[in-house]
Symmetry: D2
Subunit: 324 residues, 4 copies
């Protein structure tokens, strides 16, 4: 494995996700294992522009595998969307002697990386760090498993009180353009219905099922992705149609972004972090490292963001069957 | 211990709280220990009126000590607020042969119990089951410790993402008339400020502190009790005054009512459940069993609900000192 | 989908695993969805022999998706290993009118099912319910994801105290013949070394790495699978070789079998439960339903138990790289 | 509040406990609030002897309130038990300009502090940091509430598998000379029996109760404190006497020392940390700050360690009643 890469830069960008720290740790330690230097870039692309660099050694990443958030912090950068901003970032990066980048983030992060990699001669590998699981080229993104478990834990608690009061709860989880959090966590909590943006939100069908459904069922949980039918609006519709139900709305919100990563997210982040560094050393660039069917695969950045994941139809059918 | 009581009825009423099941278990098993019969009344006073009774034995309460919610379900009863409703409830209870009641709940539950106990000849003992900790006559109510830990867990997660993005988070916790959840969980998460209804909500003071405070502090958590300044309104004020901050609002909502009770809540519920039955056998009535300074004490129901708990001033000062 | 199956029996057998209840729920509800009757068989094969049958309806499986253990209970049956025992079980099952079986368990359960299916004319589908993840024909078994998260949570706690005291901890996790729990949870906690039965336990290599390794690393976690080098024996070796270390041994034990299932385990159990019933209706028999690369696949029972899963070599290498 | 104290030293010593970091944070921030300097002493008394000092500012203690362990690390020091060792520690401390100490720990820590305070002219205040809750002068020690919740969480998991298999589990929790962890967590899990060193371990009574007890109870949990009858020895006795039971032993071990502190432990640590600094400024010395009946109280160090806490008899009776 011969390579001209001597110093790697690593940054996290966009919305944070649990497991980003495990990914940083893996990138740093793998780089050191291969005798490379590593520079941490704080606050994503914004920090690259502003020159927020810190040297990373083994101790920089000790005892962080279990922490939510990102020790490098993250931000959304307006400036990086301009040619001037990107030029400045490139100059700063070059001044540090960084000759390859690992960027951890989602959609927006990879869009920026793609343009940056086209404009300037610097190899970049992306790692899928987002709770939304909306990237093509990896079965799961880093943070998704934690987010669905956080949602499930929260809804388990709400189920306790829903059961005690025979209430209908409409629960909104994250996922603006993507219903995967709602879908899997909804199955996990035994939701009576799940509304996601990928399928035409079938409110009449939901109302019909509530009408003909079991009368003896004491509580009902309806999971909605934030990008779909608004939870509060749906709440109004249900209250009007079923005034005898005690209907409540709960928005889980930002708890879904934080917390200790699950084992799966830690292992995923560790594997992909190793793969990113080894990929750069093998000469790869402008790709995302993902895990497909248990194996590391590299996908061009523009494929990763353009191709929407299909919703698993069999999962939707399971909801119908099991929520009887 | 001689007594004419042979059959005890138990119900949970009002908002549910974690530990209610542990209390039910303790009441049932203690009654059986003293060779009494026990009838569970479902859905609180509403179930008493409607005759929803179930016999309870040892197995009825097996393996429930760790569960949130209440296996007897709970409700708020309009009918019980009328003399006719209460008369009907009394007749149903008498028809069952129940000669004493244990009611688990908060303010509204005890108000109902007091009137009922005055109108009819039936001894009643209340157990403080509410997450709000707003009853006089017990250091802590059953469910409070769990609720503050749930809030702390949630805010710990939010802190992860707040830190990663250098954000200000305004977090609303439960407690309409009572800031004790906000106060203790706010200290627990290291909140930069805590706004509660008991103290004149000092928004100007908060804004001043934010202005002169540390500039190097990356994230800020402001805890507000739902009964105080509205979280969303406060968010608007802060956004206007500090437009450079990235300010978000999060309402924790109903997760605070559910979940496995903490050890403290289970032990408290167990002790008070035993005390309630023993208290009835000793001839006590129209009192709440509470734990004061580690000892079981009985407080007249009207005292328990009329006397507001004072906010511990020393806790408020701690926030000022530690949030530096 | 035409079928002569009218009544399905379901049992759980062998060591319990989190998610078994979610599987039972899915089997029962899917059967009801397809207008079949369902009989629960308690205590596995032992209960079949002894005639411990209960009718299952929608309510029997309400609110169990989140519970550890198995509501049908489980057992290991000596009697079922004899032809007489199996004959008795068959007669009991037939007397109930059961014409197909779903069995949830691991190795031993499927061995029994295979013999039973050969001796008697009853279609059987197995579901992989074991924390060990040691079955061929499914990427993950039901319970594995929960078990590794439980192990990770426990070791995170131990890491806190290990760090505070600069200690070496040898931690034994479950997995008599299979190191997959140790491997993945070990990566998840950032273990310095992982010893599993699948690889020749290389104690000299471990000792060498400890000798030449970083002196500045304050704590060390060594994960061992129970089936490998004994944790206590290894502790003695390390204490003798490195007397200046404060070395401790901790056996995680039975906590790994219990607890609320993770979202992944609930979704997996739900999908496979649906698949089992639909598989029976499609005429499948003597197979295990598993999830391979995100899709339901059926594998003959004897394949599922005979073919050992290979240890992912890339995971072992990751430990070497990241534990620097 | 006039005082000659300008620089405070803080150390943690002995076994670590969850909440120590919250106490460190509170001491540091309170000292800064009162314009004092603060020096952290690493590894307890051992670090004082070896001169392991670090300056503490607001950022040193940012984002640690939720972390288990102690960022200052801890150790048991042989050298500090000699006059020479203590002299060396004093010289080092004086060389740093430290003129008062806060020591966080238990029995051994306070014994050392007492001797040190007698030999040298330096005011010391102790904070009760131990999971055992075995100090007089405070209702609860910092870490106890977390430890009992960790034990309860673990046993809840074990109960899942115990129930599924109808097993008897003997579970050993920490507490060499003190059964308070076993007692309260035992009540919390609904243990069938609790054996603690404070009461003559009544094995015959336990065996008798098991013999005459309910036959229909499927699982049994027996909690034992490590200082009492050995768990494994007790396991042998029960196996011999009740060979038809499937009896298992589980030692919870070091997980009880770690983990995120509960809200109660964080609030307790915060209050006592503030009190320690304010106490020093008020001229107090050689005392422990504790919380008695909700109020901060100071107790002479030798009282805190010499007077054993009495076991609450009413708690023992509760076990008898509820484990029916």
């Amino acid at each position: 494995m011969i390579s001209r890469i001597n110093k790697i830069g690593i940054l996290t960008s966009g919305g944070d996700s649990p497991g980003m720290n495990a990914a940083i740790r893996a990138v740093v330690r793998t780089a050191l294992y291969y005798d490379l230097d590593v520079i941490g870039i704080r606050r994503g692309y914004e920090g690259a522009i502003n020159g927020e660099f810190i040297e990373m050694d083994r101790k920089s990443v000790a005892n962080i595998i279990q922490r939510g958030g990102t020790i490098l912090k993250t931000a959304r950068s307006q400036a990086f969307q301009t040619p001037e901003g990107r030029k400045k970032a490139y100059d700063q990066i070059k001044a540090q002697g960084i000759d390859a980048l690992v960027v951890v983030g989602g959609d927006g992060t990879f869009t920026g990386a793609k343009v940056f990699g086209e404009e300037f001669d610097i190899p970049i590998i992306g790692l899928p760090g987002t709770i939304d699981n909306d990237l093509y080229g990896t079965d799961f993104t880093i943070g998704y498993d934690t987010a669905i478990n956080t949602a499930v834990d929260a809804v388990d608690k709400i189920r306790d009180t829903a059961e005690s009061h025979d209430r209908v709860f409409i629960i909104e989880v994250m996922g603006r353009d993507c219903g995967l959090i709602a879908l899997r966590s909804g199955i996990g909590v035994g939701a009576e219905a799940i509304l996601i943006p990928e399928t035409k939100t079938d409110v009449p069908h939901l109302l019909h099922r509530m009408e003909v459904g079991r009368k003896d069922k004491s509580s009902k949980i309806i999971m909605v992705a934030e990008g779909g039918e608004g939870a509060f609006k749906l709440g109004e519709i249900i209250k009007e149609r079923f005034p005898h139900y005690d209907t409540r709305v709960s928005v889980l919100g930002h708890i879904q972004r934080g917390g200790k990563p699950t084992c799966m997210d830690r292992v995923l982040a560790s594997r992909l972090g190793v793969a990113a560094v080894e990929g750069l050393l093998e000469g790869r660039r402008d790709v995302m490292a993902g895990l497909i069917h248990g194996k590391v695969e590299f996908t061009p950045l523009d494929h990763a963001i353009k191709h929407n994941k299909e919703v698993n139809e069999s999962l939707l059918k399971i909801v119908e069957i099991l929520s009887l």
